[in-house]
């Protein structure tokens, strides 16, 4: 009997203990719940702050008075940011504007209205308007969801090229674009089979010139690409960067277009080159020799090809080294389609530090910014 009583007592104690344990576990679960809610809110907010670029400090634009820019008053980081064209994604608009990038490049979108809306939003309330670019060549056509365009490989004479240039230019201008990364003046397109003008180097040059004049008549800045040629040829699949031998024919279109003073800008490729253009083992886009020689005869804008491609990135052990190299080599505009505004901001700061310690001359930066602002219609003091 006693045994039964003690057993019952023991059961009662256990039940009490279990109840207490349940209450404690419940408390812990509730506290853990609150803790997790706070953690989720913090990380959620941090992600929004990061995406919006709110961590990037804003600075006053007092160096701009109407259509005049005082370069001496312009902060160095703002000058460097002017030299960058980023991907104009809808979710990063605020961050890019806060950073003061020089321009946006737009990929394919559904319709004309979407393009217009995005461009208007980007150009709203900015002291220095952004360059707005696309790769509108012909068969390479970001607008092909709603607008067709003849491939340049089907152009037969300068009249057709001029007419295409005018049409493409007007179309882009109406949407709000200012810069076209076209025409391609590589001689043989072995991959797409539609991006090069037909004919030999002389015919290609004449057709490209007519196309450029057409674009310019519509108020669009033209770009001859991809210097120094041979970028549309097949390559060794086991190499991310390939060496190409550049001959006189490859370089002829650039000499022709630059000699005539027609082309506004030239895009430089990632190819390592030998032959008439020797990049001395470096990708052309980071070769001070290649770009330096090009700059001797050409006073227009020099634009880098997109710099986040693995071939170029892997040429350097760190991203910072690559950033310094593309600025140091003399590109006026850097295409960087990294989607992270903080990374672009970091690039600006890395280059700013290099200028401050004398690794990159401020005169070089000023010279590029002067060209960019002039192309945007500003008077630079």
């Amino acid at each position: 009997m006693r045994k039964i009583m003690s057993l019952k007592k023991g059961d009662g104690n256990k039940k009490k203990k279990n109840k207490l344990g349940d209450i404690k576990r419940g408390d812990i679960q509730e506290k853990f719940f609150l803790f997790l809610v706070i953690v989720v809110l913090i990380f959620g907010s941090l992600n929004v702050v990061k995406a919006k670029g709110w961590l990037i400090p804003e600075s006053p634009d007092s160096f701009v008075q109407g259509k005049t820019v005082n370069l001496t008053k312009m902060p160095l980081d703002k000058k460097i940011a002017q030299m960058v064209i980023v991907h104009g994604s809808t979710w990063n608009e605020e961050a890019w504007k806060r950073l003061g990038v020089g321009g946006i490049h737009l990929f394919a979108l559904a319709d004309a209205k979407t393009y217009k809306t995005i461009i208007e939003k980007y150009q709203e309330d900015v002291t220095i308007p952004l360059l707005v670019s696309a790769d509108f060549e012909g068969c390479l056509n970001p607008f092909s969801n709603f607008h067709q365009s003849i491939a340049v490989s089907e152009i037969n004479n300068p009249e057709e090229a001029l007419s295409k240039g005018k049409e493409d230019g007007k179309f882009m201008r109406d949407l709000g674009f200012t810069l076209n990364f076209a025409p391609v003046v590589d001689l043989n397109d072995e991959i797409w089979k539609c991006r090069s003008f037909p004919g030999d180097e002389k015919e290609v040059s004449e057709l490209a010139e007519a196309y450029i004049l057409g674009l310019q008549q519509a108020g669009i800045i033209s770009t001859a690409k991809h210097y120094p040629g041979r970028t549309l040829a097949g390559k060794d699949p086991h190499k991310q960067l390939v060496t190409a031998i550049i001959n006189k024919q490859d370089i002829y279109p650039y000499q022709y277009l630059i000699g005539d003073g027609v082309v506004d800008s030239v895009m430089v490729s990632h190819l390592i080159t030998n032959g008439v253009i020797n990049s001395e083992g470096y990708p052309s886009v980071v070769s001070e020799k290649v770009i330096g020689d090009l700059k001797e005869g050409f006073k227009g804008l020099i634009i880098s090809d997109e710099i986040q491609m693995a071939g170029l990135r892997n040429f350097y052990s760190t991203l910072d080294e690559m950033y310094l190299a593309v600025f140091k080599s003399g590109n006026d505009i850097i295409l960087d389609f990294d989607e992270d505004p903080l990374e672009i901001y970091r690039m600006v700061k890395v280059v700013e530090a290099a200028v401050q310690r004398g690794e990159i001359s401020e005169e070089k930066i000023d010279s590029s910014v002067r060209k960019i602002l002039t192309a945007k219609g500003f008077v630079v003091e």
Partner: protein
């Protein structure tokens, strides 16, 4: 279901959300095992199609960039990236190439 169980479920869910948000914030990229296996099995390949003519595009990085510029990518056995229908350029990427592209900074 008791409120205790609901609390446990909510906590586990929140923990997963918190983890996901932290991974996004610190830009940690995890390759799902299935895709990792696919990557090991095949070499990345990309082709360009223009008016029915298909050519090998050996520069995978350039292919990624061009594919990224298109309006959409759909899986049709391989991944096909294009803008609009009809007489338009198409980029055909196998799973390995598509996975590789998605890991690039321009695709994030």
């Amino acid at each position: 279901m008791s409120s205790k169980k609901l609390l446990v479920i909510a906590n586990v869910s929140l923990l997963l959300v918190a983890l996901l948000l932290a991974l996004i914030f610190f830009e940690v990229q995890l390759i799902p095992l299935g895709k990792a296996t696919a990557t090991l099995k095949e070499e990345a390949s990309c082709q360009v199609e223009w008016r029915g003519e298909v050519n090998e595009f050996l520069n995978i990085d350039q292919c990624c960039l061009e594919a990224r510029k298109q309006l959409s990518c759909e899986q049709q056995g391989k991944w096909v990236c294009q803008t609009g229908q009809g007489d338009v350029l198409k980029y055909w990427l196998n799973q390995a190439a598509y996975d590789y592209c998605q890991r690039q900074r321009i695709w994030r």
